[in-house]
Amino acid sequence: MALNIIPSTISDCDISAQLQQQVQSSIDLRSPLVIRGGGSKSFYGRASVETSNILEMKHHTGVMDYDPTELAITVRAGTRLKDLEALLDSKQQILAFEPPQFNANSTIGGVVAAGLSGPRRAYTGSIRDAILGVDIINGDGKIVHFGGQVMKNVAGYDMSRLMVRSMGTLGVILSVSLRVLPKPNKEITVVIDASQEESLGYYQQWRLQHLPITATVWYNDKLTVRLSGTEITLGIAMQSFESLPSTTVLNDADIFWQSIRNHHHPFFSEVTKPLWRLSLPSSTKVIARFEGDLLIEWGGGQRWVSSNVPANIVRGVVKRHGGYATLFTGHKLLPEVPPFPTLAPELFALHKSLKRKLDPQGIFNPGRLYRDL
């Protein structure tokens, strides 16, 4: 039988007792707590409350269980994403949701709490699809364990998925178990000259074909597509692309995809206007042409707009198309605009009710996701 833990350079450091103590005293004093991992996504969402009561997660690190044949890994929340991915890579495995790593300090706990997924998301699933289990410190100050390392598990409510994108407002994530996938043998990236309309048309055609697409980006009349698979699969898939006008193969494709995933691409890094993330039904055609810049990912499902158009117009247009808009960066330019869209009143009431029950003293990252949560 394989050893449960593959040797890695990730230091094995369990400070859960210490973290639990700080949570307990915050509960006792009803003192709001800011949970902080690597701080790489501190810009995202609503601002943290002003407090010196910071729960530092970055020292709570280590691999608790990893057996590559199980396609699952369990790590402490403070483990850096960078280190985790390096370990998986050494075993030819990947996190299929390709979470963004805005800087090297990004921790896996933060990845779960923010719930952001990267270029591969539309093709191999999101972080909520990959999460299998969590250990958390809850609002009673207890360390509780939900889910596990197996995919099929329907005992009790799904707390693991509830922690994803909850922005730390429902408890402290101590460790997570994630499903991992085999790393594709080979990847090829092609670049096609295409207008926005043509690109959206291609997405539509490709959706029904069994092409091994694992990422798409349309920007500046160029459509970039990544294909992943074995030599044979890619050989066949390339035939569909070679017939298209002006298809070229991109060298150094990894650098390009990293720049999209981690927002180092000039579209993101040189942005001077508010940056909106639009989540839309994939088949949505060209929506209103806002002044500003546009980049489309996920086969049309995720569109980024940097624009000075008023927030209510952006949100209104996107809503008419059945989607929603998040103010991703540029909060300073639009200080009055909540980053996440307003929820229906009955739905928000359910959110508040859940928050009150799971965090009765209101100590976990209050206001980070919505006011009053």
Partner: protein, 489 residues
């Protein structure tokens, strides 16, 4: 929870205002068909069965029940295997079978909007003209309804590659205990706020009543092939499962059957299974032709290296159907070998399959009851079928104890008491083994956020702390395996 005659009378009066006479059942004969679900060893009669056909009617019924504090048990097709739709003596059954409309097929976004009473297979049938299908395929798919699938987070043979219900549903509309209609999730790849869609999926009717579902559809694979590998030793078959997965290939399905299951299925379905094998693996691969040939050759080599005594491939529709026929007929076939059987549903990490099968064998000897194993090996989701005769004094209780031991073994191995059938009424006591007091309290907080008076399917899925404490006095858990006298290897 006892409902007084006064409340009972007021309840019926109020429900008669909402529903036409034919759709409110109150006589004993009419209630009888609703006394149990697919787990027929538990039966109870409800006070009434309400059969609404509109969301407004559901809202009104729930508001009446909430104001009178009458429990509501939602029911789809009643095929569940854990007693999740077992009635409450003091409550009503809210039957959703009349919600059987398919509203909208959107081939561009590959989604379908359906009512909860639509059958699982009917979704794939309606999607077929567009070259699409709905992936989760519980074995009851010809009868089970999508609302029940969501409530139980149903699985099936193909979840290994395509995921459970939670991975294939985009939005559900629920009626809350206050009678509010709320949409959870959306037509996009993510939604703002908490992931209440995931929370409600698999919540066994405890958090709200599902009244509409938007499912994700997938393009039908262009081709599939099925491999059957026979093994002389069951341990080799079990270990081959992890080996196939670690070869970097995720099959569409990877199923295992042991000797007793093979024998039963072969006698019943004549699938051509080798009767001299201790175990077989059925492996389905899908994709386009070239991809498939490549995968078939890798998997065949892997199986041979894992000591398979033979590997047979089926590519024609008839041959594939024949290989699957035995697997699909396995439960009824085992049913013919014994007056009764009890189906378990634990999940364990793949690497422990061999060990757990050995321990089940030892337990079988200890209890003097036969076990057939036929299960979703790729997911580590076991379905031991315990054979017994309910007419023999004490055999049902023995089978139940045996089943409980298996589930506790699964928890001990880092797995879970239920992979796809749900906790329901059946496994409520094993929840005390898998979760401690703090975790159960956490679940109760969630329940109370949605349903403060505990009116939605009370008594199921999550045990009270009191119940677990009482059980604790009888059993010793604390990580101790049951029956320390049995040899373990």
């Amino acid at each position: 929870m006892i409902t007084s005659p006064e409340v009972h009378k007021n309840l019926l009066l109020a429900l008669r205002e909402i529903l036409a006479e034919d759709y409110l059942l109150t006589t004993k004969e009419d209630l009888k068909p609703y006394e149990c679900d697919g787990l027929s060893s538990y039966q109870r009669l409800p006070l009434a069965v309400a059969l609404p056909s509109t969301i407004e009617e559901v809202q009104k019924i729930i508001r009446v029940c909430e104001s009178l504090r009458v429990p509501v048990v939602a029911r789809g097709a009643g095929t569940g295997l854990s007693g999740g739709a077992l009635p409450h003596e003091g409550g009503i059954i809210l039957g959703l079978a009349r919600f059987n409309q398919i509203f909208d097929i959107d081939p561009e976004n590959m989604t379908m909007r359906v009512q909860p009473g639509v059958r699982n297979l009917a979704i794939s049938e309606a999607a077929a003209p567009y070259g699409l299908y709905y992936a989760p395929d519980p074995s009851s798919q010809i009868a089970c309804s999508i609302g029940g699938n969501v409530a139980e987070n149903a699985g099936g043979v193909h979840c290994l590659k395509y995921g459970l219900t939670v991975h294939n549903v985009l939005e559900v509309k629920i009626v809350t205990v206050d009678g509010d209609l709320i949409a959870l999730g959306s037509n996009t790849l993510d939604t703002p706020g908490y992931d209440l869609l995931a929370l409600v999926t698999g919540s066994e009717g405890m958090l709200g009543v599902i009244v509409e579902v938007l499912v994700k559809l997938l393009p039908r694979p262009p081709a599939t092939k099925v491999l059957m590998a026979a093994f002389d030793y069951i341990e080799d078959a079990a270990n081959a499962v992890a080996t196939v997965i670690s070869a970097g290939i995720i099959p569409a399905g990877l199923e295992m059957m042991d000797q007793l299951a093979i024998e039963a299925a072969e006698t019943f379905a004549h699938a051509g299974y080798p009767l001299d094998a201790e175990a077989i693996l059925l492996c389905e691969l899908d994709g386009n032709e070239a991809q498939l040939n490549e995968q078939v050759s890798i998997v065949t080599d892997t199986l041979r290296a894992a000591n398979a005594s033979s590997v047979v491939m089926a590519s024609s529709t008839e041959d594939k159907a024949k290989l699957w026929a035995g697997r699909k007929a396995a439960f009824p076939a085992v049913g013919r070998m014994s007056p009764d059987y009890y189906c378990m549903d634990g999940t364990i990490p793949r690497k422990h399959i061999a060990q757990v099968l050995m321990e089940i064998k030892a337990l079988s000897k200890h209890y003097g009851l036969r076990v057939a194993n036929v299960f979703h090996a790729g997911d580590g989701n076991l379905h031991p079928l315990i054979l017994f005769d309910a007419n023999q004094d004490g055999e049902l209780q023995k089978a139940e104890r045996f089943g409980a031991d298996i589930l506790e073994l699964c928890v001990k191995m880092g797995g879970t008491i239920t992979g796809e059938h749900g906790v329901g009424h059946e496994k409520i006591d094993q929840m005390c083994v898998q979760f401690n007091e703090d975790e159960l309290s956490h679940f109760h907080h969630i329940k109370h956020a949605f349903d403060p008076y505990e009116l939605l399917n009370p008594g199921k899925a999550i045990p009270t702390l009191h119940r677990c404490a009482e059980l604790g006095a009888m059993h010793v858990h604390n990580g101790e395996l049951p029956h320390p006298d049995i040899p373990r290897f």
